[in-house]
Structure formats: C-alpha cells, structure tokens
Symmetry: C2
C-alpha cells in the first residue's frame, strides 16, 4: 500500500466546503469519488484543513492510501481528467506511511481579499468580498499586525468551536499583515493553526476597526481578557487558503 | 428624451451572447429589462458590437433613449443594483441625440487568452482557452503581426457571414500582436471593425501555425487569393472584448 499526497486548488463557489456531508457536493467527496474510480474501490482522504462553503484554495494538501501502482504524474493527469474544472490537482507525491497532512503541518497561510471600488469586476465577483463603503484602511493595516503572537483566540471563532470547554483556543500567529494593492485590500495571516472561522472573524474585526467601531487597543484587551464574541464573520467568498507547510523530510 | 450611453463589462459564461434571442438569456435583453424597470416602459439598447455565447467583455458601449431624468451617477448605481453580478455598468454618459455606438465607432480591440500550462487554475477556467500541448509560439508571434493592414478577411469569418455575396469583407487591422506573459499566450488585435467570429478565426489560424499546419507565408497568400475557409474558430471562452473607440466630440 502506497501513501500519497495531493496538492489541491479549488473554486469553492459550488461546494458545501471541504468536508464530506451526506447528499451535498463537497471538495473532499468529489476527490474521493475520482480516486475511487482509479482505485476500483472506495478511497478516503485526509485534508490539511477544512474550508467552509464558498471558501477557495490554492494549495490544500490531502493524503490517502492507494494500492494502484500508477506513477504520480499519470495519477495527477488521471485525476484532473475525472474531476470537474473547479477542482485541480497541481501535484502528487509519494509520502512515508505515517504522513498525516493535518497533524504534521507546521504552518498554514490564508488570505482575505476585499474589493474597495464601487463596481466589482464580473470576473472577480466570486473571489472577493465587495465592500465599497468608507473604511479607515490605515487603522486596519495597523490593527492587522497586532494579531501576531501566541494568543487565546476564543473571541475569534465560530460558536460551535468556542463552546467546547477545555479545548485549547490558543494559537500562534507567525505573520499577520494587511495592505492595499490597486482596488483590493488584502489581509494575509500565517500561523500554527486556525480555529473554525478564525480568519473570517479576524477579518470581521478588522472591518469593524475600519468602520471605527473597534480599535487596535481593543484587540489587546480582547486577547488578554475572558473570551467574548467581538466580531462578525466576514463572508466566505473573500477567503483563500494559500498554502500549508511541513517539516523537511 | 435623453440619449445615454453605458459602458458594460460582463462574464459571458451564462449568456447566449449579446443579442436578444427569444426565450434565451442574453446580455442585451438582461440590460434592457433592468432599464425598463427604471423607465417604467420598454427600453431598447444598441450595442457597439455583438459578442458570441461565452465571450467576455471589459468595455462594450451601448446607447439608448430615456425619458427618466435620473442623474447618470444614480443610473449607474440603480442599474448595478438591478443587474446580476456577472454584468456590470462601469460608466453612464450623456450623448448627442444622434449618437450610435456601432456606426460611430472608429476602432475596436479584442484579446484572446490561451493558458499554456498543464493545469489550468480553477479561477481562470472560464476566461482562457486551455491549450497545454506543444505550440511553436515564436512562429505564432511572428504570424500575428502579419494580420495588420487592410485585407479581405473572407477566409476568417463564420460561414453565415462569408456566404453573403456582395457585402464587403474588407477590414483594416491597425495593430495585431501576440506575446507570452507567464503561463498565458495573449493575442490582441485592434481594428476598424470585425466580421462575425473573425477574432476567433484569426486565433484558430495562429493555433494552426503553432502546430506547424500553416505558416505566416500561407497567410500572405490567403489574404491575396480568392476567399477560402482556412482556419477553425478558437473556443469562445478565451475571447475578451477589450474596448471600443469613438472620435473626440
């Protein structure tokens, strides 16, 4: 039995997120179906992380076991022939038998894109959050840098995650940065791991800073104090999973 | 009665081209419907040119008469609220009563995009022609420049247009250029006007040059000689209408 990993890029618009859900199209189930055609029996995959409905990805890593001896280059081509065009496999690699794409990941990077002009180009409508209203972007850019460090992010995750008592909500953000390029305001964050909806909540907080409802100083207090829900979750379609990192073999 | 023009950008994927067709969604009918809501009665528009099903546009100009005294800025916003997100109005302008977006156009620019790598990013799948197979791009780039000038383009249009005898197929190409940028091979052409399917046929010819089935020298003969169908029409989704030009008022 071989252990293989695939690097996956997808347009999440048509899917109910990564994770298998009975009766609904998901990224995971669509890939499992294609792999099962190649293997001739059911294949299950494990992903580096889950994305919500409508979230996009440039490089999610997924791993699975395969008996079929098909060379990795041919497997990549065969999968891309079987998969719909909104899911693409950019790489296939042999891995050690114990490789796990989630447990062994050392860092993950996400990017959120906000379109700032009145008219959103039709070609970008699925890939940005359109927010043409006034925002103090300088304050947002300053606040974005404050997420860096090891913090309890209980205030920045979905309720179904924050309600699980005893499960650590501490995560380490290695880099956090917002910047403006052309008509797009970008927010990019690289960290050890992320709670459910965390990047969308961080973005939601930044939007509140931009509107003057919160400040970077509030953030310092929120990260120190007892958990409290402080920010709405920014829409899924502006969020892009960028990459996942592993230790050198 | 006012004469107004709108500049329109659209993702053509979901539409049966520009022109009204009974019972089918088209760009023209979708815009006419939105304008008619604002006017309270039927409004008909005239476009700077027609695009085929699946072709995209960055700046088609369309004109219409309106009684409603709504300011142009408000009309732009009202239209964008009424229209689906794959059609956007980027500009609204007052025009002289005799303005006609097709007859008065002095130049039109189109661009064709060919994705050259094995894997086409999911985000571009509707906006490029994916051709990952070998092509002599140097020969294509040299041939593309040869389209420039005044020629009879009978060999480069759809049969329903070339079959109309006595209608001139002579057009002037002001600029014609192909180039590679990253994974995309671009072909951009600016001319006095274009026959039906002409840019797609020019691109089809370039692809045959790339495959070694035609040469730039063949082109010289084809443009001199009696009309003959020489090239297939490249797929619609790689084609983007870029701009239309008018004389200074």
């Amino acid at each position: 039995m071989r252990r293989l990993s695939i690097l996956v890029s997808y347009d999440g618009t048509a899917y109910h997120g990564w994770q298998v859900q009975p009766g609904l199209p998901t990224i995971q189930s669509t890939i499992e179906k294609a792999l099962s055609v190649i293997e001739g029996e059911s294949v299950k995959i494990e992903g580096s992380g889950r994305t919500d409905a409508g979230v996009h990805a440039l490089g999610v890593c997924a791993a699975f076991n395969l008996k079929n001896p098909i060379p990795t280059d041919n497997l990549r081509k065969a999968l891309n022939r079987l998969l719909p065009f909104d899911i693409r496999i950019t790489r296939v690699e042999e891995r050690p038998a114990n490789f796990h794409p989630r447990f062994q990941a050392t860092a993950k990077t996400y990017e959120y894109r906000i379109w700032r002009e009145e008219v959103c180009p039709p070609f970008l409508r699925r890939y940005v959050h359109h927010h043409p209203y006034p925002l103090d972007e300088t304050a947002m850019i300053a606040a974005a840098a404050r997420f860096a460090g090891e913090h309890d992010f209980s205030a920045f995750c979905s309720t179904d995650e924050s309600d699980i008592l005893g499960k650590s909500k501490v995560r380490t953000i290695f880099e956090s940065k917002a910047w403006r390029d052309g008509e797009t305001l970008y927010f990019r964050v690289r960290g050890s791991g992320f709670l459910k909806h965390m990047v969308r909540h961080l973005t939601g907080f930044l939007l509140e800073v931009g509107k003057g409802n919160n400040t970077a100083e509030d953030l310092v207090e929120i990260l120190k104090g007892p958990p409290a829900k402080v920010a709405f979750s920014a829409p899924a379609q502006g969020l892009h999973q960028i990459s996942v990192e592993y230790p050198l073999p």
